[in-house]
């Protein structure tokens, strides 16, 4: 049984069918004029051998202008699977995504450099020293592999988290470009039994991490049936360029038939038009180009239509994930993916705010709600991410989980049918006939059935806002709750066969 996710009954859409059709046509035109610039030779060869017009561009870096004809794209859209399964160490955590079914899975990530610790020092009122309050203080520092283990551990226990993308970049002294991939994969997989998706730091490590996944899943065939890992590559650099190394990685992952996200992250205002129609036509062309390449490498490769569109901040020209337009673009992309019936990877929840607080809560709740309502299959909703994707705070992730429970509850389908209404008519008549005319007696049969939403779980007892402290308590509780690690035997084999994993990650040997 796969995870349930949130089934959105009637997804919210911004575009009419005609508008989606117009965007599709515009994207097709973009792919032939101006077409794409590829810095990767192999991609050029593959596309060229299937009929794309190719022309070399003079310059320091070798690159080619590639014009992809519409039929090629349409054929790729045909061979791309309409249902994608993402497996998991615990098979009950598998995710099954149908491109035409708005069932939303909620995913963490992505990698930030900074980890935010929280502490609650006591402050004394100057005017009245008998008055003391505890105030949350957030302290940023560089992320480590221990942090990654902690985050994977807590996310294992966060009910609304359906899949794990690592939240923090491991910057320990003993982590190098060579050993980073095997360590981040092992740390995540060992502390979390949900689906694990990741990018690759070094293509050289691809076979090592695939081997690790095979050992955990129980062999090559078992991994095919239960792909416990998948990959994400930003092969596209907006506007309309295939980057050399990520495209190479993308091609190699496709060859191995493992699920992969083709993702593009244009920034409206700088790397895409600031206007909705413009960024939509462009991002759609970029993602379709990636999907086309992937399907030419290996028809039937499971791909996700990955969209991370964002608007620029006008004060810094950095990404403004908190801006309202960012949610609009994301919802449009969800709709375009559904238009092609390909499962969608979408984004919400990342906020501009640097620390947990009012701004972060409002920004993320806003985009989490609206984007979830549009029904993406794989929603990278960024549990715990702050400061436009550069800071991660576990406390915030705990809060996000709570807020997603509210969204999940809100999106439940109404129960209005004949038997229900008949029961209600009887109840109304019964109660009206009593002297007190109160329905309270009828609450009880549903009180503990899960049909009534709870009070905000971090509500304090007095006037003070205790949300952070209570969420922090909850976080500590979750950390204290054990997770199911990879078993001793498999761990031993992984350490034997795969070079570079830090010995301290071996819980059976390091004594921790």
């Amino acid at each position: 049984m796969p995870r349930k996710g949130i089934l959105v009954d009637r997804p919210f859409e911004r575009l009419t069918r005609e508008q989606a059709e117009l965007i599709h046509q515009a994207s097709m035109q973009i792919l032939t004029d101006p077409g794409l610039i590829s810095f990767n030779r192999e991609a050029v060869d593959i596309l060229h051998s299937h009929g794309a017009a190719v022309e070399s561009i003079a310059g320091d870096h070798q690159s080619w202008q590639v014009k992809i004809p519409e039929q090629l794209v349409l054929k790729a859209l045909d061979t791309a699977p309409k249902t994608v399964k993402l497996g998991a160490r615990n098979p009950d955590n598998a995710l099954i995504m149908h491109g035409d079914e708005p069932r939303v899975y909620l995913i963490t990530g992505s990698e930030t450099n900074i980890w935010l610790d929280v502490d609650f020092p006591t402050y004394v009122n100057k005017a009245d020293p008998t008055k003391e309050i505890r105030v949350p203080e957030f302290k940023p520092r560089r992320g480590t592999i221990d942090d990654l283990c902690q985050s994977a551990h807590v996310c294992e226990h966060l009910e609304m988290v359906d899949g794990y993308i690592r939240t923090v970049n491991i910057q320990d002294r003993d982590i190098t470009e060579e050993n980073k991939d095997v360590n981040k994969f092992f740390a995540s997989l060992n502390n979390n039994t949900k689906h694990f998706m990741s990018g690759l730091t070094s293509l050289k490590q691809l076979d090592n991490v695939v081997r690790m996944a095979e050992l955990i899943a129980g062999g090559k065939k078992a991994l095919e049936d239960n792909p416990i890992i998948s990959f994400i590559t930003c092969l596209v650099k907006s506007p309309l360029q295939f980057v050399d190394d990520t495209t190479e990685t993308f091609i190699e992952v496709c060859r191995r038939g493992l699920p992969i996200v083709v993702s593009s992250s244009p920034q409206a205002g700088t790397t895409a038009p600031i206007k909705e129609a413009g960024i939509m036509a462009q991002i759609n062309a970029e993602v379709l180009a990636g999907i086309t390449l992937g399907q030419l490498v290996k028809p039937g490769t499971p791909v996700l239509y990955g969209s991370v569109p964002v608007r620029a901040r006008m004060d810094t020209l950095g990404d403004s994930y908190g801006s309202v337009e960012t949610s609009q673009y994301n919802i449009d992309c969800v709709q375009m993916a559904r238009f092609y019936r390909i499962p969608n990877y979408s984004t919400s929840g990342v906020c501009d705010s640097k620390i947990p607080g009012q701004q972060s809560s409002i920004e993320r709740l806003f985009s989490d709600m609206v984007v979830t309502m549009s029904g993406p299959q794989y929603l990278h909703c960024a549990f715990g991410l702050l400061d436009c994707n550069s800071v991660f705070c576990l406390l915030q992730a705990v809060l996000d989980d709570t807020h997603f429970k509210m969204i999940e509850f809100f999106l439940r389908q109404p129960r209005v049918d004949q038997p229900e209404l008949e029961a209600m008519l009887k109840q109304i008549r019964d109660v009206v006939a009593t002297s007190q005319k109160l329905y309270i007696g009828h609450i009880r049969p549903v009180l503990r059935s899960g049909e009534i939403s709870g009070v905000y779980p971090f509500e304090g007892s007095g006037e003070a806002d205790d949300v952070f402290e209570l969420a922090h308590e909850r976080m500590k509780e979750l950390l204290a709750r054990p997770v199911e690690h990879i078993d001793r035997e498999t761990t031993a084999r992984i350490f034997e066969e795969i070079p570079g994993i830090l010995p301290r990650l071996n819980i059976y040997e390091s004594g921790s």
Binding site: S435, L438, I440, G441, R444
Partner: protein
């Protein structure tokens, strides 16, 4: 046998099952007799009413109160238990009277003149009945004369007044004055409650107590 039935009554009070048809807090007692049926059996087999009250009903309510304070129970649970006890007290009233057993006393309650809010008042009535008081609900928008007449005729030990409006809360002072004029004030403790009123207001009009909520009312009454 009598021990068993009393323990079962207590268990049903905790579960908030007035009659056989009621759902409890869980399914464990589903379909078995509720407080009312058990009480009738107990009375038939001559179990002492005092024992039923103290070891069955009151002991059960005490557990309910504890569960409420530890947040295991919600208000609807508390009210279901209180209603079960209330129904039991109704059945036992003639028995107690003929056996000359003293009850916890009569409690009259009303929403004052001009005010129709009654949710809070009803909750207070249910809970006090469940706590063993003989509750007389005079209704809403009750004129002062009617309250005074009731106190004169029925001699309740306690009078509860509810007002939710700043425009009707002054009626509470009018009721107290009228009780004084009719030389009835010392015969009855006056408790007031409702969103409009406060501790200070209670003092100002000479009420005996202000209650924030129904549980507070039980506590205040226990103090007398």
């Amino acid at each position: 046998m009598s021990k068993d039935i009393i323990a079962t009554i207590k268990e049903n009070v905790i579960q908030g099952r007035k009659t056989q048809g009621d759902v409890g807090i869980d399914d464990s007692l589903a379909g078995t007799p509720g407080v009312v049926e058990l009480l009738q059996q107990a009375l038939k087999s001559n179990v002492s009413p005092q024992v039923i009250i103290s070891e069955g009903l009151t002991a059960g309510m005490q557990v309910v109160g504890e569960k409420f304070s530890t947040k295991e129970y919600f208000i609807p649970d508390m009210l279901a238990s209180a209603e079960a006890v209330g129904a039991a007290m109704d059945i036992m009233k003639p028995v107690l009277e003929s056996a000359n057993v003293e009850t916890k006393g009569k409690f009259a309650i009303a929403t004052v003149k001009g005010d129709i809010h009654d949710i809070g008042k009803n909750i207070v009535a249910i809970l006090l009945k469940g706590a063993g008081y003989e509750v007389h609900d005079l209704g809403i928008d009750v004129p002062t004369e009617k309250v005074v007449e009731f106190v004169k005729e029925e001699k309740p030990g306690y009078l509860g007044l509810s007002a939710l409006l700043t425009t009707t809360m002054t009626e509470m002072g009018v009721v107290i004055k009228a009780l004084e004029e009719n030389k009835l004030r010392s015969s009855v403790k006056v408790l007031i409650g409702g969103a409009a009123v406060s501790e200070e207001f209670a003092q100002e009009i000479g009420a005996d107590a202000y209650c924030v909520n129904a549980f507070d009312a039980v506590k205040v009454l226990e103090g007398y």
